[in-house]
């Protein structure tokens, strides 16, 4: 990287040209570009500015961060890495292994991150013992959302097992309601899949199958059952689901066309935006089974030249994990703070439920990373699994075949 130092400096000069004072500097690459997301990031920018920093915004949306990752690779290869980048899960460690991440341990230790973050989440922020990323929030993935009126009209309770869910769904189908609102995009298929794995196999099985990629677990009978349940769920989805955006599926639940949706807690934002009230108009519950699948957004700091930029990184890391930002940001975004010492009085019941479960599952060891949202596995492995899941869900592949393909795809992904 040293070789390209001169180039970096010269291009940075262009970027930095606007601010003459050498206060803390940060160019932030993220994919929170629209509506509530953007406003949430703006909170961070305001705090950063209030502390004398100057923030350069580098938003790249699309494909759940794919486009941003494309841009990031190009920037890193050209020796012109952004100061801070929205990164999550094992991707943080992957980038660390490429030797391009900065060490922010000094900030983390000064701020006592280790004491306020749940251990499994803190694990994601560390690279070989040093702190290399700052967590922003915790999204819970294994949520099931329901239209309160529809459930009431059909005399249905929130299901706590998949069998209950299937029974409820059959009833709803008979009543002419679409049981499950779903968008047929690979990542949504994967989201449903992982909640089924968690529900049917339990936290331990989830850990073995989708985190450790244990071949035995992948080819086990339990996994066959998981695919059977996926096939059953396919029957509860309307026929126009393919390619549908998740928020359109949410809208179906909102207007009573469908009863349930399995989606992370960002779906709540869509309900709230439409003026619906949690607990009254719509219900939230964890998907059938134990455990908690988290999706933690975080920012990693890249190796950059220049004291003003390094100061920017430290300031940014400090602010991100500080209680004030954690609270304001997550109120906006629908998720919950990553740190456990933030008062949740202002948060709604779903968020409170989420926080409560996070605490209890953390103690029980069933606080697990979401594979579908890139928390559990590296890109090539999670991608290989998603390929099989989505192929199975969108065809008439048998569960036995799916299990075989799953094992083969995982083996071929290293």
């Amino acid at each position: 990287m040293k070789r390209f130092a001169f180039a970096t400096v010269s291009t940075l000069a262009v970027v930095a040209g606007s601010s003459v004072l050498a206060g803390p500097q940060a160019e932030v690459l993220h994919w929170w570009t629209s509506g509530g997301e953007a406003k949430s990031v703006a909170v961070l920018q305001e705090e950063f500015a209030a502390n004398g920093g100057s923030w350069t915004d580098m938003p790249v949306a699309g494909g759940g961060g794919d486009a941003a990752m494309t841009a990031l690779r190009a920037r890193v290869l050209s020796g012109n890495a952004p100061t801070a980048v929205q990164l999550k899960g094992p991707a943080i460690q992957e980038w660390y292994e490429e030797g391009v991440l900065a060490d922010i341990s000094s900030v983390a230790e000064a701020e006592g991150w280790a004491d306020v973050l749940p251990a499994s989440i803190a694990g994601h922020m560390k690279c070989e013992g040093t702190w290399c990323a700052a967590p922003v929030n915790v999204h819970r993935v294994d949520w099931i959302w329901a239209n309160a009126d529809v459930l009431a009209a059909n005399g249905i309770e929130m299901p706590t097992t998949w069998d209950e869910f299937n029974a409820a769904a059959d009833k709803l189908q008979a009543a002419g309601v679409i049981p499950l609102a779903h968008g047929g995009q690979a990542w949504q298929d994967a989201t449903v899949f992982e909640t089924v794995v968690l529900g049917i196999g339990g936290p331990e099985f989830f850990q073995k199958a989708l985190v450790d990629l244990d071949p035995e677990a992948l080819t086990s009978d339990t996994m066959v059952q998981v695919f059977d349940q996926m096939r059953t769920l396919r029957g509860y989805v309307d026929e126009n689901f393919s390619g549908r955006d998740w928020n359109l599926a949410t809208a179906m639940v909102m207007n009573g066309e469908a009863a349930f949706q399995i989606m992370g807690d960002w779906a709540k934002g869509e309900f709230l935006a439409a003026g619906k009230k949690p607990g009254e108009d719509f219900l939230c519950a964890s998907t059938p089974g134990d455990g908690y699948l988290y999706n933690v957004d975080s920012f990693a700091m890249f190796d950059v030249e220049g004291d003003d930029k390094k100061a920017g990184q430290d300031l940014l890391a400090k602010l991100i994990v500080a209680p004030n930002f954690q609270k304001v940001f997550n109120l906006n975004k629908g998720s919950i703070p990553a740190r456990t010492d933030v008062a949740l009085d202002d948060f709604d019941i779903c968020a409170n439920l989420s926080a409560e479960d996070m605490g209890s599952t953390s103690d029980a060891g069933s606080l697990l990373p979401s594979y579908a949202h890139g928390m559990a596995l590296r890109g090539s492995q999670s991608g290989a699994i998603t390929d099989v899941v989505t192929a199975h869900f969108n065809s008439d592949m048998s569960s036995a075949d799916a299990v075989q393909q799953l094992a083969a795809a995982v083996a071929n992904s290293y």
């Binding site: 992957e94 026929e239 126009n240 390619g243 090539s380 991608g383 390929d387």
Partner: protein, 290 residues
């Protein structure tokens, strides 16, 4: 010195472009070939590890789908776009009163990127939102048009949208060709009492052979590069039923962090391009050299 410059100016002028192409096309192809032999993951690495990436590629059912889709998509797209383009050109060539306006309507999709039009297409083709529900709303309740969500037919919706985007351009090419055919030959044929359709099939169309070739090449290049289209319309789905090599490669390189795998798929793509383009270049330069 100035004498030398004057004599060598053509070469001097061509040199920068040539060098640029050498580096930025061939150098990069070489780079890709090299990387395809490594186990590069998130970022490129340069330690050669053999043909493992190609083995992985050919073991991947998703790549099989992508290649098969390229054949289906490529063949249908090229043939239909050409036939449609020719048909439209002939229709427009009949002294149409509002030719300018119609031509613009046919041509404009080329002006818009698929990022822009993809969403609209997605809605139109979606059974619950678009054509199917509209026609059913008219009372034809048995009408079905669910290709977008049917894994076996979704690739054909990609073909539809691709044709929508490119056939106007092909029409323009053919229209230009029709306008440049020697009028005297046609008059002679008319005097001989040859029916109009025969004049087209027997005289005009055969004389446009070079345009067919150009159109073929433009379309083939679009087919191979098709990327935005798939991303915007189906995102490769349902499942990965509409994956194409270009989307496969992009997914591997940028969302999966599997650059070695992406490079090997790129090399296979390049071979396909090579097989199509080289014969064209050969004939093109042969014919025009004399």
């Amino acid at each position: 010195m100035s004498e030398w410059l004057e004599n060598h100016l053509p070469k001097v002028v061509l040199a920068p472009s040539f060098i640029a192409v050498l580096i930025f096309v061939y150098g990069f192809i070489g780079w890709t070939a090299w990387v395809s032999l490594t186990r590069s993951k998130l970022l490129p690495k340069y330690e050669i590890k053999g043909f493992i990436q190609y083995e992985r590629l050919f073991d991947s059912p998703r790549w099989d789908t992508a290649i098969n889709n390229l054949y289906i998509f490529g063949a249908l797209f090229i043939v239909i776009a050409m036939v449609l383009g020719l048909l439209l050109a002939i229709l427009l060539d009949q002294k149409i009163r509002v030719e300018g306006a119609i031509r613009t309507i046919y041509l404009y999709p080329m002006a818009l990127s698929m990022i822009v039009t993809g969403t609209a297409w997605k809605w139109i083709l979606n059974p619950g939102l678009g054509i199917e529900s509209m026609v059913q709303g008219w009372g034809f309740t048995n009408f079905e048009f669910d290709w977008l969500v049917n894994p076996d037919y979704a690739i054909y919706t990609i073909v539809m949208a691709a044709i929508w985007q490119s056939s106007g351009f092909v029409m323009a090419l053919f229209l230009a060709g029709l306008r440049s055919v020697d009028g005297e030959i046609i008059k002679a044929a008319q005097v001989d009492g040859i029916p109009t359709w025969r004049i087209y099939t027997a005289i005009i169309i055969p004389s446009m052979a070079p345009i067919f070739l150009s159109a073929f090449i433009v379309l083939a290049h679009l087919a191979i590069k098709s990327f935005d289209l798939v991303i915007a319309l189906t995102g490769g789905g349902p499942g990965y039923a509409t994956d194409l090599p270009a989307t496969y490669m992009y997914a591997m390189a940028f969302s999966r962090g599997d650059i070695g795998q992406a490079a090997s798929s790129a090399m296979i793509m390049m071979l396909v391009v090579f097989a199509i383009v080289v014969p064209y270049l050969y004939s093109e330069l042969r014919a025009k050299n004399d």
